[in-house]
C-alpha cells in the first residue's frame, strides 16, 4: 500500500479515537497536507540556492561556496540566518500594509502552483479538472505582488521597476497561455495528472510531437520568472534593483525565495507538461519510482535555466517586447491553429494503414506524433525565415554607416 495514504488513514483513525467529528479530521488532514507540500517546495528551494551557486561557479570556472559545511552545503542556512539578523526597515511614506503583504503574496503565488503538481501517480495535493487553468490563474497573484511592492515602497525606482516588471510579466503571459493549450489539446484534458498519464511512452511525450510548444513554454516561463536573459526587472545599472529596492532582511529574502522557487516550479511544470512527469520504466510496479523520474526531469530542466543564467547576457528592453509580440505570440497562434487540424486529419490514418501492418492504435500514435513533429518543424523553419528576412530588410533600410572611401572623397594631391 502507498505509505502516505496509510499514514493519512492512521491519522484519521487516531482522531476518530479521541472522538473528533470526521469532517474536522479531514480538514486537519488537508491542513497537514498543505504544510507538507509547502515545506517540501521550500526545502527544495533552499537546496537549489546552493546548487545554483555551485553550478554557476563551475560554469564560470570558479569554486563557489565551500567554507560552510561539507562542499559548502550549509551556505544557504548561513545566508538565511544573515537575512534574519538584518534590520527590517520600512521607508517613510510607505504604504505599510501593502508593503508587508507583497512579499508574502510573492511566495504564496508560487506555492499555490504546487497544490496541483503530481509528484507520483498517487502523490499530489489535489486533483483538479481545470489544473492547467488554475496554474495560469494563481500566477496572476505574482503580478499583483510586484505591483504592490513597487507602489507601496514610495520610491521612484521601485515604481519604475514594477511597471517594467508588470509589462514583461503580462506580455509573456500571452505566449505562455497559448503554449499551455497545446498539451491540453493533445491530452484532451485540463487535468494535469491526465496530461502526465497520456505521456506513457517515449513517443507519446509531448516534447516529441510538439517541440515548438515546449520551447515557447520554456522561454516564456523563464521570462515570467524574470531570470537571465530576461532579468530586466532588476537591472542594477538602470533601475537600481527594481521593485524590491526598499525591502531588506527577511522580506527581501521572501522575494528571493519566491524567485528561486518559481524557477524550480517552471522547470517542474515543463517536465510535467512536456517530458512526461513521473512516467518512466517500471513505474506501474513501483509508483515511488515516479518521484525519482519527476525530480530527475525537473532538475534536468532546472539545470538548463542555471546554464542560461550563468552564460547569457541580458536582453535589451525593446528586444524583450519585440521578441514576445513579433515572434513568440504569432508562432504560438499559428501552432495553436495547426495542431488541432493535423491532429484531426491523422486521427484515423492508423486504421487506413492497418491493412498492411499490425496494431492500428500504435500506428496512429506514431503517425500522429510524426505529423505533428513535421508541422512543428515547418512552423519553426518558417518563423526563422520570416525573422531572417525582416532583419535583412531592417538593416537595409537603416542609413548605412558611411564607409571611409565614400565619406571622404580622396584628397586631390595636385592642389
Amino acid at each position: 500500500m502507498d505509505p502516505l495514504a496509510a499514514l493519512g488513514e492512521w491519522f484519521l483513525n487516531l482522531l476518530a479515537m479521541i472522538n473528533l467529528p470526521p469532517a474536522v479530521g479531514q480538514i486537519l488532514l488537508y491542513l497537514i497536507g498543505v504544510i507538507v507540500i509547502a515545506t517540501v517546495a521550500l526545502v527544495i528551494t533552499i537546496f537549489n540556492t546552493w546548487l545554483e551557486r555551485k553550478i554557476a561557479a563551475r560554469l564560470q570556472d570558479r569554486v563557489g561556496p565551500n567554507r560552510v559545511g561539507p562542499w559548502g552545503l550549509l551556505q544557504p542556512i548561513a545566508d538565511a540566518l544573515k537575512m534574519l539578523t538584518k534590520e527590517d526597515t520600512t521607508p517613510a511614506g510607505a504604504d505599510k500594509i501593502a508593503f508587508n503583504i507583497a512579499p508574502i503574496l510573492a511566495v504564496v503565488s508560487v506555492l499555490l502552483i504546487w497544490a496541483v503538481v503530481p509528484f507520483t501517480s498517487q502523490w499530489y495535493g489535489t486533483r483538479l479538472n481545470v489544473a492547467v487553468l488554475y496554474i495560469a490563474a494563481v500566477g496572476s497573484f505574482g503580478v499583483l505582488a510586484v505591483l504592490m511592492a513597487g507602489w507601496s515602497s514610495n520610491n521612484k525606482y521601485a515604481l519604475l521597476g514594477a511597471f517594467r516588471a508588470v509589462s514583461q510579466l503580462i506580455s509573456y503571459e500571452v505566449p505562455l497561455l497559448l503554449s499551455l493549450l497545446i498539451p491540453v489539446l493533445m491530452a484532451r484534458s485540463m487535468d494535469i495528472s491526465t496530461i502526465v498519464e497520456k505521456q506513457g511512452t517515449l513517443l507519446e511525450m509531448f516534447v516529441v510531437a510538439a517541440p515548438l510548444a515546449f520551447l515557447l513554454f520554456f522561454i516564456s516561463s523563464v521570462a515570467e520568472v524574470g531570470r537571465t536573459p530576461f532579468d530586466l526587472l532588476e537591472a542594477e545599472s538602470e533601475i537600481v534593483a527594481g521593485y524590491h529596492i526598499e525591502y531588506s532582511g527577511f522580506k527581501f529574502g521572501m522575494f528571493q525565495a519566491g524567485e528561486f522557487m518559481h524557477t524550480f516550479t517552471i522547470s517542474a511544470l515543463t517536465a510535467i507538461l512536456f517530458l512526461g512527469g513521473w512516467q518512466g520504466p517500471l513505474v506501474e510496479q513501483f509508483p515511488i519510482l515516479g518521484l525519482v523520474y519527476f525530480m530527475g526531469k525537473s532538475f534536468a530542466v532546472y539545470f538548463v535555466t542555471m546554464w542560461m543564467r550563468s552564460t547569457l547576457p541580458r536582453i535589451r528592453i525593446d528586444h524583450m517586447q519585440s521578441l514576445n509580440w513579433k515572434v513568440l505570440v504569432p508562432v504560438a497562434l499559428v501552432l495553436l491553429m495547426l495542431t488541432p487540424l493535423v491532429d484531426f486529419f491523422t486521427k484515423d490514418l492508423g486504421n487506413l494503414f492497418s491493412l498492411f501492418v499490425g496494431s492500428p492504435a500504435e500506428l496512429t500514435l506514431s503517425v500522429r506524433a510524426g505529423a505533428l513533429l513535421l508541422t512543428n518543424l515547418a512552423i519553426m523553419l518558417g518563423a526563422i525565415e520570416v525573422i531572417r528576412r525582416s532583419v535583412k530588410r531592417a538593416t537595409k533600410a537603416r542609413v548605412p554607416f558611411p564607409r571611409r572611401d565614400e565619406a571622404r572623397p580622396p584628397i586631390e594631391e595636385a592642389a
Binding site: 469532517a23 501593502a98 495560469a136 496572476s140 503580478v143 499583483l144 505591483l147 507602489w151 503571459e173
Partner: protein, 173 residues
C-alpha cells in the same frame, strides 16, 4: 454547522466587507486592492458551489487581467499618494441611494419569485461540466452566436483602442 458553511460565512463576510471598502476608500489603489479581495471571495464561493472552472476563470480574468489593469492605470494617471482621489464631481447621495435601493428590491422580488433560487437543486456530477460548457459555446444549437458576437465586440474594442492610441502623422508636423 458543516465546515463548508463555516468557510462560506467567513468568505461571505470578507467579500462584503471588502466590497464596502472598495467604494469607501479615498485612496484609489487601496480601493483596487480591496476589489481584488472581493473578486477572490466570489471565486471562493464558486468553488463552494462545485464550479472550479468558473472560480479559476474568475481569478484569471478579473484578478489577473482586469484588476491589474485598473491598478496599473490608476498608478499611471495620478499622483495618488499626495491628493487622495480628489473631490467628487457631484453630491447625488440621495439619488444614488434611491437607485441602489430600487435595484436591490427588484433583485429581491424577482429572485424571490424564482423557485430554484430558494431550494437549490442538488449539484449534478460536475466532472464533465467543462466539456459540456465548451461544447455548448461552440455548437450551433448552443451559444455560438452569442459567443461570436462577444468575440467581435472585443475585437472591435481592440482595434478601436489601437486606432485611438496610434500616433497621427500630421500632428507631428
Amino acid at each position: 454547522m458543516t465546515p463548508m458553511q463555516v468557510i462560506f460565512i467567513i468568505t461571505a463576510v470578507a467579500t462584503v466587507l471588502a466590497a464596502i471598502m472598495v467604494v469607501s476608500r479615498r485612496n484609489l489603489v487601496h480601493a483596487a486592492l480591496f476589489l481584488v479581495i472581493t473578486l477572490f471571495g466570489v471565486a471562493v464561493n464558486f468553488i463552494l458551489l462545485d464550479a472550479p472552472f468558473l472560480a479559476v476563470v474568475q481569478v484569471l480574468v478579473y484578478i489577473g487581467a482586469i484588476a491589474i489593469l485598473m491598478i496599473f492605470a490608476v498608478m499611471l494617471t495620478r499622483n495618488i499618494q499626495e491628493d487622495g482621489a480628489g473631490e467628487a464631481f457631484n453630491k447625488n447621495v440621495g439619488m444614488a441611494g434611491l437607485v441602489s435601493f430600487l435595484v436591490l428590491s427588484l433583485l429581491v422580488v424577482t429572485l424571490g419569485g424564482w423557485s430554484e433560487f430558494r431550494a437549490l437543486p442538488p449539484v449534478a456530477n460536475t466532472s464533465g461540466a467543462v466539456e459540456a460548457l465548451g461544447l455548448a459555446l461552440a455548437s450551433a444549437d448552443g451559444y455560438v452566436l452569442a459567443f461570436e458576437v462577444a468575440s467581435m465586440l472585443l475585437l472591435g474594442a481592440l482595434v478601436g483602442a489601437i486606432f485611438v492610441a496610434w500616433p497621427r502623422k500630421n500632428e507631428n508636423e
